[in-house]
């Protein structure tokens, strides 16, 4: 069934969108990821303008992270103090990101910019994930357990503005969380992702947070940042397509529920390798689209009505 998206200004098939939302939701349920970094490129492949895909995806993530954070609140798995400091950095990052986005959009190069950001991020993260899981698999075959868990005492502990984070059982400077939050805010606003794939490793390896509060706290920050990013894109760039967001939210919720209930008979590193392959394929497709000679060198873009 064909519907016309009011802000994206393109006709799309409703069922294709629902299935896409459900498929990405399903993957996020299985892999425990947000899915924004898959959904935004897929929307672009469907012919939705990159600027609309990014802003609308932020809107969808606001919904899915809110429903996620509610579940973690029940389990008291959110470090609010840490979350709030991350949010402060994130709001700044988002504001800066949306402004950068607006400037590049005014030069008519936003599609290229978003694609390049995705190629860079998906390429590096996919490759890292792939190599890391490969070496984990090889190590487990040799059955040598080299996994060590030690409290690291690194440069982070030398920074000023130290404060105590009770839920995380940490006494560290507030600067690293603000900086991490800032980077996540930038990512959310220019790529339409929650940024969990950066935020979670950063919380564990840089901040040294205990794993039990990491997911809840990251969802808490992501919810605020994507909600704010949605608002900023709506006011600065007018690129949030609420109808598209609604369809993706509905599809995504159904898919995620299914995905979370499917028992995957795979080891953690095998799941990661699969995910890395998906990420690299999307990256490859984006790169090919930029490099292949287009069918038509010329195109027309419509300006505002007069």
């Amino acid at each position: 069934m064909q519907i016309f998206l009011p802000i994206a200004d393109v006709p799309v098939d409703l069922f294709v969108l629902l299935i896409l939302g459900a498929a990405v939701g399903f993957l996020s349920g299985v892999f425990g990821i947000g899915g924004g970094f898959l959904m935004t490129p897929l929307l672009i492949f469907l012919g939705i303008p990159a600027a609309v895909a990014v802003a609308t995806e932020a809107n969808q993530i606001a919904a899915s992270s809110f429903s996620g954070v509610l579940a973690h609140l029940k389990r008291r798995a959110v470090d609010f103090k840490m979350g709030n400091i991350l949010v402060v950095g994130g709001l700044l990052g988002s504001a800066v990101g949306v402004e950068v986005f607006r400037i590049i959009k005014s030069y008519g190069q936003i599609d290229l910019f978003v694609s390049l950001c995705y190629i860079l991020f998906l390429g590096s993260i996919g490759t890292l994930m792939f190599l890391e899981s490969l070496s984990t698999i090889q190590r487990s075959r040799k059955s040598v357990n080299t996994f060590k868990h030690k409290k690291k005492h690194n440069w982070i502990h030398g920074l000023p503005f130290k404060t105590r984070f009770k839920s995380s059982n940490l006494y560290i400077s507030a600067i690293p969380p603000v900086v991490i939050g800032f980077i996540i805010g930038i990512l959310a606003s220019i790529m339409g992702v929650g940024g969990g794939f950066i935020l979670i490793p950063a919380m564990i390896y840089i901040l040294g947070m205990p794993t039990k509060v990491v997911i809840g706290t990251s969802l808490y920050q992501i919810m605020f940042i994507t909600a704010f990013t949605t608002f900023m894109h709506a006011t600065q760039n007018k690129t949030v397509d609420l109808l598209l967001a609604l369809i993706l939210i509905v599809g995504g919720v159904l898919g995620a529920q299914l995905g979370a209930r499917v028992t995957v008979k795979l080891k953690a590193e095998e799941i990661r390798i699969l995910l890395a392959i998906i990420v690299l394929l999307v990256c490859l497709k984006l790169a090919l689209d930029l490099m292949m000679t287009p069918n038509d060198l010329f195109s027309i873009t419509y300006g505002s009505e007069s």
């Binding site: 069934m1 064909q2 519907i3 016309f4 009011p6 802000i7 200004d9 393109v10 006709p11 809107n59 969808q60 606001a62 919904a63 899915s64 992270s65 809110f66 429903s67 996620g68 509610l70 579940a71 008519g108 190069q109 599609d111 290229l112 919810m223 909600a227 949605t230 608002f231 900023m232 894109h233 709506a234 006011t235 007018k238 949030v240 397509d241 609420l242 109808l243 967001a245 609604l246 939210i249 509905v250 919720v253 529920q257 930029l290 490099m291 292949m292 000679t293 287009p294 038509d296 060198l297 010329f298 195109s299 027309i300 873009t301 419509y302 300006g303 505002s304 009505e305 007069s306």
Partner: protein, 249 residues
């Protein structure tokens, strides 16, 4: 119904016509762009006097104006990048022209004059052509791309002439059209292309329902629209959490 209107037109027309004249009507005055809009047809019909013999009927459909940029993809470091090469200010987003007599002696001349007056004259001059092909290249790309998108058609569609006196013409509007006023101009011309008589109708194309609500608020009340989008998303996220907690209790 159509036949009835035609015959009524015929009766009235024969009584009131003086020299050369054309009268016309259309089958709808409003087109609603809903979320499900998938293109539509518009029927234009009317009567001519005196009988069409040495005269030809031109029908033009002119959509609301927008500005248009032509971009060309250029390769930089192996990557194809869009480069803006020409800008047309306020030209019709949709234009169709048809003629009752495709063998009109100065058809090419009419075509050029029409395209010049609605498109070519609106090229902003700061975009100087680099390829040596001159502005003609921009004109060519503009018409080629507009035709490709179904937004321009020049003497491709037929006007039905019945008994040399009545005419009907079906306008096909694609699914992606701009809202606004669509003018339908009927002009009777002689063999030299001189205008003898004309008649004009218009159709109002407007967004309705969800389509109207979202696009007008996004444009005119962005603060409200932004807050509304966030609240709807959070509400849906909350409902989903509640629903599944209840389902898997």
């Amino acid at each position: 119904m159509r036949v009835f209107i035609f015959s009524m037109l015929l009766i009235f027309s024969t009584a009131s016509f003086t020299l050369s004249s054309v009268i016309s009507d259309i089958d709808k005055s409003n087109i609603e762009l809903s979320t499900r809009f998938d293109g539509t047809n518009l029927l234009v019909f009317g009567a001519l006097s005196p009988e069409i013999d040495n005269t030809s009927l031109l029908v033009e459909v002119i959509g609301p104006s927008t500005s248009v940029d032509i971009t060309k993809k250029v390769q930089i470091w192996g990557i194809w990048v869009n480069k803006k090469i020409a800008h047309f200010q306020d030209i019709p987003s949709f234009y169709k022209i048809s003629i009752s007599n495709p063998e009109h002696p100065i058809l090419k001349e009419i075509e050029y004059q029409k395209l010049k007056s609605i498109f070519y004259d609106f090229l902003e001059t700061n975009s100087t052509p680099q390829d040596g092909n001159g502005v003609e290249q921009y004109y060519h790309e503009l018409t080629r791309l507009k035709k490709k998108l179904g937004k321009l058609s020049i003497f491709e569609e037929k006007i039905n002439i019945i008994d040399k006196k009545l005419f009907s013409y079906k306008v096909n509007l694609p699914k992606k059209i701009y809202p606004g006023k669509y003018k339908i101009k009927m002009t009777l011309i002689d063999q030299q292309g001189i205008e003898l008589s004309k008649s004009e109708q218009s159709v109002k194309v407007s967004k309705v329902g969800v389509q109207e609500f979202l696009s007008s608020n996004s444009k005119n009340n962005p603060v409200f629209y932004g807050l509304f989008s966030v609240i709807i998303a959070l509400f849906l996220g909350f409902s989903a959490a509640q629903l599944f907690r209840w389902m898997y209790r």
